[in-house]
């Protein structure tokens, strides 16, 4: 199966390239790039690690599959000793004191981190424009947004600056930029990969996941990062997904899609036509396709944002400049907190924190927050029923092509509503993969909880079918 990781591994082992030359080449590309994907480069540590890999190869020692493979990390992950800014003013000089579990597993496997990647500040955005490092420009057209919030990660993979990158997905933040830049991006089942060491946005839907150029690379990286972790008690143990388990589409007999997604007023006619054409090709392969009923898009988006804002208001309350961050002193403690937060949070982050505190406050909590929780339960129950009828749910990633840089910031409501196809699967905590086929921004493949194997299997089928 096509795999950039395996290809590079082979080149290293056969001494066609050195790891140092490979890492240097990628670092040079990252330094010269004009897409604003880099928050900080990990140059010294990367070259040091590469030299060790070269020494092992020169000594005739065996190296692991991920050993020496250069990768990128969204700048919301703790990696000890590196700046971890969340693309924010508040944390622009903050250094990680420890390393996130998912990243540590990759380091233990020998992968080499090159870069902390630009993203929307604290994950708050769908365009990677809400950042102090400049808007991330789309890999295919620099006038367009990269998507978000893991925009820098998606562009780095699409441009081959990194072999794979690790993003974070709360409501679509891996899947949507993957779609906007024509690569693969996986949001695994909630709990499959430890969240320990990722800066919390909305803890009940935050997921760690890989972005890469091939299904096989997604599988390899997913297997390494998965597993139960005592530091995140929402994690569960999972089996390794084997390569030969995802090569045949056997077991996928019925595919469903949400009728109202396709009949939405917001969908671009070309995206709609392309999606329906993809459905016809799937039917032609003998797979049964069912139309499914689902919640209205505005209900999905509103439920997601109500809960995500409530959770981010709580999670970000710790950021007050006391122990870390860009503290701004004022006349008393409360004023110091308020000025520090007012001056250092972006407008979008403030909007979400204020919205969250609104729905959690007396009088609003019953009418909005608790109702939002009840709606999420119903959405999840709906998915459970759907997966009794179908093996896979297929959907577009976004209703339209990426917007021009600058447009999303002018209209926050439009930005929230553009997440209509991704947020439902986050609320359901389901494994969902963006594939770069089918529509201009790809397709999403979703399976029942913990069934990433089915998702990857169907992705392979689509690669050969569309």
């Amino acid at each position: 199966m096509n795999s950039q990781i395996k290809e590079i591994h082979q080149q290293l082992v056969s001494k066609q390239i050195t790891c140092t030359a490979l890492v240097q080449e990628k670092l040079d590309l990252l330094k010269q790039n004009t897409h604003n994907t880099v928050n900080s480069l990990l140059e010294d540590s990367a070259l040091e690690a590469a030299a060790k890999v070269d020494a092992k190869i020169a000594n005739g020692e065996e190296i692991g599959l991920l050993e020496g493979i250069p990768f990128g990390i969204k700048d919301v992950y703790m990696v000890q000793g590196t700046y971890t800014t969340a693309s924010s003013d508040l944390l622009k000089k903050y250094k990680s004191a420890y390393t996130a579990t998912a990243i540590q597993k990759l380091l233990d496997a020998g992968a080499i981190p090159l870069v902390k990647e630009n993203c929307d500040s604290f994950g708050h955005g769908s365009s990677s424009e809400n950042t102090i490092f400049g808007a991330v420009k789309n890999a295919l057209d620099e006038t367009l947004v990269s998507g978000g919030s893991s925009g820098g990660s998606a562009v780095n993979v699409a441009k081959d600056y990194t072999v794979f990158s690790i993003g974070g997905d709360t409501g679509g933040s891996i899947r949507q930029p993957a779609g906007y830049n024509n690569i693969y991006g996986l949001k695994p089942t909630y709990g499959r990969i430890s969240r320990y060491g990722i800066m919390a946005y909305a803890s009940s839907t935050d997921c760690v996941g890989p972005l890469a150029k091939s299904i096989e690379d997604i599988r390899i990286v997913l297997n390494v990062m998965s597993g139960k972790d005592g530091k995140d008690q929402t994690t569960y143990a999972s089996d390794e997904i084997l390569e030969n388990a995802i090569t045949s589409v056997e077991g996928v007999k019925t595919v469903g899609y949400f009728k109202n997604f396709i009949e939405s007023e917001a969908i671009d006619p070309i995206v709609k036509a392309d999606f329906l054409a993809a459905i016809e090709k799937i039917k032609a392969k003998g797979i049964e396709v069912k139309e499914l009923d689902f919640f209205k898009s505005d209900t999905l988006v509103s439920t997601y944002y109500t809960l995500a804002m409530a959770e981010t208001a709580s999670n970000l309350s710790r950021l007050d400049g006391t122990n870390y961050g860009n503290r701004i002193e004022d006349k008393n403690l409360k004023e110091t907190y308020a000025v520090t937060r007012s001056e250092n949070f972006s407008e979008e982050t403030k909007r979400r924190v204020v919205g969250g505190n609104q729905v959690l406050s007396q009088g609003f909590s019953d009418a909005i927050y608790l109702k939002g929780l009840a709606l999420r339960d119903q959405i999840s129950e709906n998915f459970e029923k759907d997966f009794e009828e179908v093996d896979i749910i297929l959907s577009p990633v976004t209703p339209a092509a990426p917007p021009v840089i600058g447009d999303s910031l002018k209209d926050p409501l439009a930005m929230y509503l553009s997440d209509e196809y991704t947020v439902g699967f986050s609320l359901g905590q389901l494994p969902t993969l963006t594939v770069p086929q089918g529509t201009v921004t790809g397709l999403q493949i979703t399976a029942a909880k913990r069934n990433e194997e089915q998702v990857l299997k169907f992705a392979n089928f689509l690669k050969d079918t569309l």
Partner: protein, 85 residues
């Protein structure tokens, strides 16, 4: 309490865009108005709780925590102000 106080953000006001999202929820009719959270069960079972042990942080970790502290004077970490109320 107003949202600017609740959020510790000076002059903060509810956003019109966000209020439109909340209105959708306000007008929604969930079949069950009490979230039982019986679908997404993520809590760990009491029989599977991790050991309650103290793990001492490493030297590098302690150094970075000190380095991140916003203010330092004569070897002491300086807090912003004393809590008055």
């Amino acid at each position: 309490m107003t949202v600017d106080i609740l959020s510790s953000i000076k002059g903060a006001k509810p956003s019109e865009s966000v209020n439109q999202l909340f209105d959708v929820i306000r007008n929604a009719h969930p079949t069950n108005n009490n979230a039982a959270n019986n679908v997404n069960i993520n809590a760990v079972s009491v029989s599977d709780l991790r050991e309650d042990v103290v793990v001492k942080s490493g030297k590098i970790e302690r150094e970075i925590i000190k380095e991140n502290f916003p203010n330092e004077k004569d070897g002491y970490l300086v807090v912003s102000k004393v809590i008055e109320d």
